[in-house]
């Protein structure tokens, strides 16, 4: 039982925060977003050079053997600075999935390339009509002589438009909602039959809609075993959720700081508005939420690597539930306490609020995760 960071972790966090404070300013970020590229080569390369893209990969693949706590530290710092780089998509989701479920050859081909910053990837799994259900997969993969032929449409593919390679979940057997029969494939983004529509998101990220029309892949494009991809998919999404939780905690902290500063500066009726008791208690509640969120983010990070599915799922969904609720309260209160300024594009608080809102929608909203823990309660008791 120990909640302290190691010396290495502390150093990592310090240097990352210093880098972001100096190099990833509000104006710089705005320019990156307005460029429409969806990623900034300079920033990405700097992250690679800091070793961040390799941190959680095994040492034999140019990694540093880090764990969920390391991802947490990175994502928390990203959340504070609202970094829009494809770290979640490339490193956490795709990289993590290959690390945990890929063959040696796949790891060899992919992990060092991610680590060096050359390769961007994305996980294409959600589908229309599924909402947050991971097993709801209609994309078909037909076994043929050359391997598999993929047909279907994927949505909400974070940074899908920037990836050179995708991981695509598809159905090799079973009905639409069945956990059995799902297979994971590596698909080149420029393969014939892949069409990608790239969208900006409200919070400066990118998302894509991906159409697969008779896309041919070879048998060695399969990650893990055919029909049995669900476990790896679910674990990757759980790691993604843990990462989002950490990002939200960083953004909540930043919202706290922005709000404390604003309310102590801004005067109304001749006094700083931070003197009003109602606003003080509102900030105290924000602080409590942020602290509770931090506890759950640590729990999620600690559980994310686990193969004990029930325990991992419980921690992850409990964390996302409470952090979503906290992010909503902190986000809304932060904007409210900024008054009219809070709803303008000029204010940092507005951007934090938008990201916190989008995090809540990603990979399951509060109700979704409440239903997960609630229904698990029933099973556990039976």
């Amino acid at each position: 039982m120990n909640f302290e960071l190691t010396e290495e972790q502390q150093m990592l966090q310090d240097s990352l925060r210093r880098f972001l404070a100096n190099e990833y300013t509000f104006e710089k970020r705005r320019k990156i977003i307005e460029s429409g590229q969806g990623t900034d080569a300079g920033t990405w390369q700097a992250l690679a050079e800091m070793g961040l893209l390799a941190f959680t990969f095994p040492e034999e693949y140019d990694g540093l053997g880090g764990n969920g706590i390391d991802t947490m530290l990175v994502m928390e710092s990203f959340g504070r600075a609202l970094v829009t780089e494809p770290y979640l998509a490339t490193v956490v989701l795709a990289g993590g999935l290959v690390r945990d479920a890929g063959s040696d050859a796949q790891k060899q081909a992919i992990l060092p390339a991610i680590a060096s910053g050359e390769k961007l990837m994305a996980l294409a799994t959600y589908e229309h009509g599924a909402r947050y259900s991971l097993a709801h997969i209609n994309t078909q993969a037909k076994n043929n002589s050359g391997g598999y032929e993929l047909n279907g449409t994927k949505t909400a593919v974070i940074h899908g438009g920037q990836a050179s390679q995708l991981i695509v979940s598809a159905r090799t057997s079973g009905d639409t909602r069945s956990e059995d029969g799902i297979t994971l494939f590596l698909v080149d983004a420029n393969a014939s039959g892949v069409s990608i529509t790239d969208f900006a998101t409200h919070d400066g990220f990118r998302t894509a809609e991906i159409n697969l029309n008779d896309v041919q892949v070879t048998a060695d494009a399969v990650i893990g075993k055919a029909d049995q991809g669900f476990a790896a998919l679910e674990k990757a999404i759980d790691q993604g959720i843990a990462a989002l939780c950490a990002e939200a905690v960083g953004a909540m902290d930043a919202m706290m700081e922005a709000t404390l500063e604003y309310t102590q500066t801004r005067k109304q009726f001749g006094t700083p508005i931070s003197r009003f008791q109602v606003l003080q208690h509102s900030m105290a509640d924000m602080f409590i939420q942020a602290q509770q969120g931090r506890s759950m983010s640590i729990l999620a990070a600690d559980s994310a690597d686990s193969d004990d599915r029930d325990a991992r799922r419980e921690s992850i969904s409990q964390a996302k539930l409470l952090i979503n609720q906290g992010a909503r309260e902190v986000g809304q209160s932060g904007v409210q306490l900024h008054g009219g300024m809070g709803v303008t594009d000029e204010m940092w608080a507005a951007h934090l609020f938008k990201r916190l809102t989008m995090i809540n929608l990603l990979f399951g909203d509060a109700d979704h995760h409440l239903s997960k823990v609630s229904d698990a309660l029933l099973t556990k008791m039976a």
């Binding site: 599924a130 909402r131 990220f205 005067k267 303008t344």
Partner: protein, 395 residues
């Protein structure tokens, strides 16, 4: 106590409904209901249709070209308009400056300004708020110094909604610095084409341009454009603020949005079923539905209460804005991850590019973001609670 509408009121509702069915253009109605952008032309077109019917100003007395309707009739009209997908009329002219001109303006001001408001040809902006003032309106610093037949106006107004389209702006300006904050203020009508006025967009958090900063640099305003007496502008502004008893509740708009939300909940899918079938989401909807019903009854209680407007407007403002914000939050949640994509062009007429998910998702997150303003603008909900505790509870 009788909670039913009278048969006359029911007949009136039918008449309004029939009119809307016949006269409200489909393109306008569809875009309004789906919460896509309307062009300026669409809004003017609709105001002109209403004006032709004699319904251009539902809240005005007949002598100025209004309908002379009772408050309950106004409520019915607004509700039917909202449910039919009629665009909101332009409040700044019709409901904010016009009542002040009608009550305190000169004969010339009435003749000059009311017709253009009624037919939608002249758009008004509000020049009350100033940077850093927030809910503390009386702290304003924009000055108007008398120079012969003119005032020379200098200063800055902000949060000027639709200022980019404004033909005229009504402003509170300081004409006397020697007296207490609220006593040296005058109410001016200013032609926005006057030299020295500069309108600069403020981009909102949803990326949209609906509000503005307005700068005044030695702007010459004829003295006859002052409404009422010099230094008494605060009284007129307060009259205007207190004029609306129930408008802040926005019941008609929210009932329309509730209907839209139920439609979205039938269309959006959750693991292959309509999300309305998900009991958790449905419970949130049912909870809000009940709250909206309570708001509606409260509005009717206030409207049919024989005593005049009072601080109950603060309750309606608080509950109205909370319910409105929640409606848009649920609409966003219903569309899930589809709401991530930001495709502003898709809000424009004739867009035929790609969408991320259904059309329901297109305005969802932007609307949610935008509606955070509801609990801030027009006296924040914290200020409203101060008002309740001081004026109603006597604390």
């Amino acid at each position: 106590m009788d909670l039913n509408y009278t048969s006359e009121q029911e007949a009136f509702r039918q008449e309004v409904r029939q009119f809307l069915q016949d006269q409200l253009p489909d393109d306008i109605s569809e875009r309004t209901q789906k919460r896509l952008r309307l062009t300026k032309d669409m809004i003017v077109r609709w105001q002109q249709i209403l004006h032709k019917q004699g319904w251009g100003a539902s809240t005005w007395p007949k002598e100025f070209g209004g309908t002379g309707w009772s408050e309950v009739e106004q409520l019915i009209f607004e509700e039917e308009c909202a449910l039919a997908g009629a665009p909101r009329q332009l409040d700044f002219g019709l409901r904010m400056v016009a009542p002040v001109i009608m009550k305190f303006g000169s004969q010339e001001q009435k003749g000059q300004h009311l017709p253009g408001i009624l037919d939608g040809s002249v758009w008004w902006s509000q020049g009350y708020s100033e940077p850093g003032a927030g809910s503390d309106l009386a702290s304003l610093r924009t000055t108007a110094e008398r120079e012969g037949d003119h005032y020379i106006v200098n200063g800055q107004k902000t949060w000027t909604t639709l200022g980019q389209y404004g033909d005229w702006i009504f402003c509170l300006v300081r004409t006397n610095k020697e007296v207490k904050a609220q006593e040296g203020i005058s109410f001016l009508l200013i032609d926005m084409k006057t030299p020295g006025i500069d309108v600069k967009p403020i981009i909102m958090l949803d990326g949209e341009h609906e509000i503005n900063d307005v700068f005044f640099d030695n702007v010459k305003v004829p003295v006859e454009n002052r409404v009422g007496e010099e230094d008494k502008g605060w009284t007129y502004a307060k009259y205007l603020l207190g004029h609306e008893r129930t408008g802040l509740a926005n019941v008609g708009q929210w009932k329309a949005m509730m209907r839209r939300l139920k439609e979205i909940a039938r269309q959006e899918q959750d693991d292959g079923h309509a999300i309305i079938e998900n009991p958790r989401f449905r419970d949130r909807l049912a909870q809000l539905d009940a709250e909206l019903r309570a708001l509606e009854v409260t509005v009717l209680r206030v409207l049919t209460n024989s005593s005049g407007p009072g601080p109950e407007a603060s309750i309606l403002k608080i509950r109205g804005t909370e319910i409105g914000q929640r409606l848009f939050e649920l609409a966003m949640e219903a569309t899930g991850q589809d709401a991530l994509a930001h495709i502003p062009d898709a809000l424009e007429p004739d867009y035929d590019g790609p969408l991320a998910g259904s059309m329901n998702a297109t305005p969802a997150a932007g609307d949610y973001f935008n509606m955070r303003k509801l609990s801030i603008f027009g006296g924040s909900n914290e200020i409203q609670r101060n008002i309740i505790s001081k004026l109603v509870l006597g604390l």
